[in-house]
């Protein structure tokens, strides 16, 4: 249990709704343009709530024997995919939760799922292989074995997929079955994020550093000095700010001008325990962070990466995942006890905020 005192939502966070799922909640996301909120728990339970009220719409249990590992909602918000320890991926419909297709990928854990931005492809990582399927579950591409288990995947553009594993990031043209680029660096890459234009590749590494590359120039840099491994990375929608965290602090690198090389990053210190989830708002320079101590904070950032908190709320226990509603007017947090919290978030207006107390 966290050792901070519970507190009511503050600043721009306001009471919304709460609900419960059966087990440790590890994944969540908004569907149907924010009308629905879907939560997955570690035991393989799936729960769909009305976005405004928290009223349960449907629920399912044990969708993956051995447990759930990942969930990804399609960008259009009509379907979503889940994966688990059973080596399966399920593509389901958001309205009723009905399974459209089950993909059996063998016995390895299926740990990562990512829809391409246009929603035409679903990328899936299981052990050393990466698979691409289309929306209706037809196989489109399979990678060769990577040198080690794939630790992160993300789309750099509509046909190009980036994969991270021990020692390298690889870019695959999955339509023409080509390897476009390999970025090598000896280190165990534990997380990966790409700037929205796909040029900057940022990876958190087991040795407590963030390594990044600019694909256009081939330049790379290493940001060291993190107290823990930076498992959490998030780019803002402009691709100018990269928030990173491997401890209770958030370090924000600014790519404006010649940065971030040789510049001082912004630092946000609002939590008492390490960050367990981190996400920029869909638009603008708001970053939300959830911590093992159960606190959730939204900070408004300046161009240099520094910023101030504009709202905070208490999720009750270790924050398993957070998700901004597509209009950024609500933030959801799910926790290790299976509690779901959705707070309304009053978007900053021209009026001066009363600030954070």
């Amino acid at each position: 249990m966290p050792d901070i005192e519970p507190f009511s939502p503050r600043g721009m966070f306001h009471e919304g709704w709460t609900a419960e799922v059966n087990d440790y909640a590890i994944a969540c996301g908004w569907a149907l343009k924010g009308k629905q909120f879907i939560v997955g728990d570690v035991a393989g339970g799936l729960f769909s709530f009305e976005g405004d009220t928290g009223k349960i719409i449907w629920k399912k249990e044990n969708i993956h024997s051995g447990g759930l590992l990942a969930m990804a909602i399609h960008p259009e918000g009509e379907i979503f995919a889940t994966s688990g320890q059973d080596g399966n991926v399920q593509i389901c419909n958001c309205h009723e939760g009905k399974v459209i297709k089950t993909l059996d990928l063998g016995k390895g854990w299926v740990e990562h799922l990512k829809w391409s931005n246009d929603g035409l492809f679903l990328a899936i990582a299981s052990s050393k292989k990466v698979y691409v399927f289309n929306e209706i579950g037809e196989e489109k591409w399979i990678s060769e074995d990577h040198p080690s288990t794939v630790s992160a995947i993300t789309w750099s553009n509509k046909n190009e997929l980036a994969t991270a594993c021990y020692g390298r990031v690889t870019f695959f043209d999955i339509v023409n079955n080509k390897t476009n680029q390999k970025l090598e660096w000896q280190g165990s890459l534990v997380s990966m994020e790409l700037s929205p234009d796909g040029d900057i590749v940022a990876c958190g590494s087991q040795d407590n550093s963030v390594h990044f590359w600019r694909r256009s120039t081939g330049m790379d840099a290493e940001m060291t000095g993190y107290p823990g491994k930076p498992s959490h990375l998030s780019f803002d929608d402009s691709g100018k700010l990269l928030a990173t965290s491997g401890s209770e602090r958030i370090t924000v690198w600014s790519f404006i001008g010649n940065g971030p090389e040789g510049t001082m990053p912004g630092e946000l210190c609002h939590h008492t325990e390490p960050i367990s989830s981190l996400a920029f708002s869909n638009k603008g320079m708001l970053v939300a962070s959830g911590s093992r101590d159960g606190s959730v904070v939204a900070s408004f950032l300046k161009k240099d990466g520094n910023g101030d908190p504009v709202g905070a709320a208490f999720a009750g226990d270790l924050v398993g995942a957070i998700s901004w509603r597509p209009d950024d007017c609500a933030l959801a947090a799910v926790n290790a006890k299976g509690v779901v919290n959705v707070w309304k978030f009053k978007v900053r207006t021209n009026l001066f905020s009363k600030g954070f107390k």
Partner: protein
């Protein structure tokens, strides 16, 4: 999170064919009230339904700094990272490695990764060895000697295939390589479950309770007797024993407290390093000298001890008094004078293997800064060859003893219980490859105040 709340993890290592799978199945099928999650290597074949069994490819990840001490097991981080979200499903974790695995990265994972170390605690490393084949394996591969060196418990398995004499020889070879370990003999991996689980092997008090001498250095002598003698002439009488000769150092003014005995032992160690003077029966034993009693003759043999004024004499003998039925007799009264105090010592062995243990024991306090500098340098120069470090230290000015734990270059120093009335002292054991005992002891001595 306190250590009691963390999930204990046992690492099971051993060469192919040593009986890991048999032991694993035995642990899983026995009634012990634990819910065990098993992380099995890719070749594992636990055929058991109960429990949570997860297969993982062994992925050894080196860091960009190239330091082997920072090397971790990526698969364990992933699997344990997921398991910790299912805490309600299990209360113990067993990690089985392949026969070729280096135990270092496995153990280091529990020190190096903050997320893992905040939820799990390394309970112990159990290594199985095949009694019939380990002798050859030790000669052939570094992995097998490393698995022995890292072990908190060594299960000497398949003892039914080997003679008792061979087992004794083997056990003493393994003991030389790793003095911290507890050796258990077994047939068909049949060992009591409590000898492999919940060892708290990283808890020194537990180990000392079980094996009080494990942190002690080795001495060239096995026994000390302290005799309270008035002035006069005495005879040291020996019967036939296991050896035709025996080394001895006699010290005058020998105290009887543990501290005084250790001081005497330290002086004797230095004297033992000098060449021994041989004495034949009837000769007088000098004080403060390394001598060698010649015992070839049949029957009782006597050597003379002259005492000028009342004193306590300490005899530091290569073998125990019992082995030669050794007695001190006052000549004029023909009366046996029993010893006031006796003390047995760990005896040193010949070390044939590259992998071995070194123990350092010193009374007194150390200067924390000097110790840190010395340890830091030692581990950065020799960290690759030092597999495990355990022990405790007396920091000057600190009322608590400081417990040391290390795997390769990583070590933790934590305040433990208060010294109270116990004499303040330092005990450290290093297990590693080609360690220079003398150099390390001298290095440590420089840290003493």
């Amino acid at each position: 999170m306190s250590i009691q709340d963390k999930v204990p993890v046992t690492i099971l290592t051993g060469f192919l064919g040593s009986g890991k799978t048999t032991l694993l199945n035995r642990i899983l099928s026995e009634e012990h009230g634990k819910r065990i999650a098993v992380i099995e290597n890719e070749y594992g074949e636990v055929g058991i339904d109960q429990g949570l069994v997860i297969n993982a490819d062994e992925e050894v990840f080196e860091m960009s700094n190239g330091c082997i001490c920072c090397t971790v097991r990526g698969d364990l981080i992933r699997v344990l990272g997921n398991l910790m979200k299912r805490r309600d499903k299990f209360d113990y974790v067993l990690v089985e490695t392949t026969g070729l695995a280096d135990p270092g990265p496995v153990a280091q994972t529990f020190f190096m990764d903050e997320e893992i170390s905040s939820e799990f605690t390394l309970d112990g490393i159990v290594t199985l060895v095949d009694a019939a084949h380990i002798d050859q394996q030790l000669g052939r591969s570094d992995e097998s000697s490393e698995q022995v060196a890292f072990a908190d418990v060594l299960v000497l398995n398949k003892t039914d295939l080997v003679s008792d004499d061979a087992l004794d020889t083997l056990e003493s070879r393994l003991r030389d390589m790793n003095r911290m370990t507890r050796i258990i003999r077994a047939e068909n991996a049949k060992v009591p479950i409590e000898t492999v689980l919940n060892l708290s092997a990283f808890d020194l008090d537990q180990i000392l309770k079980r094996r009080p001498t494990f942190l002690e250095p080795e001495y060239p002598f096995e026994w000390t007797g302290v005799y309270d003698l008035d002035a006069g002439k005495y005879e040291l009488m020996l019967e036939e024993g296991p050896d035709p000769e025996m080394s001895l150092v006699a010290l005058a003014n020998q105290g009887e407290s543990e501290e005084e005995l250790k001081d005497g032992a330290e002086s004797s160690v230095r004297l033992y390093a000098e060449k021994a003077n041989s004495l034949v029966p009837g000769n007088t034993i000098p004080y403060g000298e390394h001598i060698n009693l010649k015992l070839d003759d049949k029957g009782n043999k006597s050597f003379i001890l002259n005492i000028e004024k009342p004193t306590k004499i300490g005899l530091f003998t290569q073998h125990t008094a019992e082995e030669f039925n050794m007695k001190v007799i006052k000549s004029d009264e023909n009366k046996e004078i029993p010893f006031n105090t006796e003390r047995f010592w760990q005896v040193e062995h010949e070390h044939d293997d590259e992998v071995g243990s070194i123990a350092i024991e010193r009374f007194g306090d150390v200067d924390p800064e000097k110790l840190n500098t010395w340890m830091g340098r030692l581990l950065s120069e020799k960290g690759v060859d030092i597999f495990r470090t355990k022990g405790f230290i007396s920091y000057s000015g600190n009322p608590r003893r400081i417990v040391f734990q290390g795997v390769h270059m990583l070590f933790t120093a934590q305040p433990d219980k208060e010294w109270g009335n116990e004499p303040r002292r330092n005990q450290l054991v290093f297990i590693g490859r080609n360690l220079n005992e003398k150099e390390m002891q001298e290095g440590f001595d420089k840290c003493l105040i």
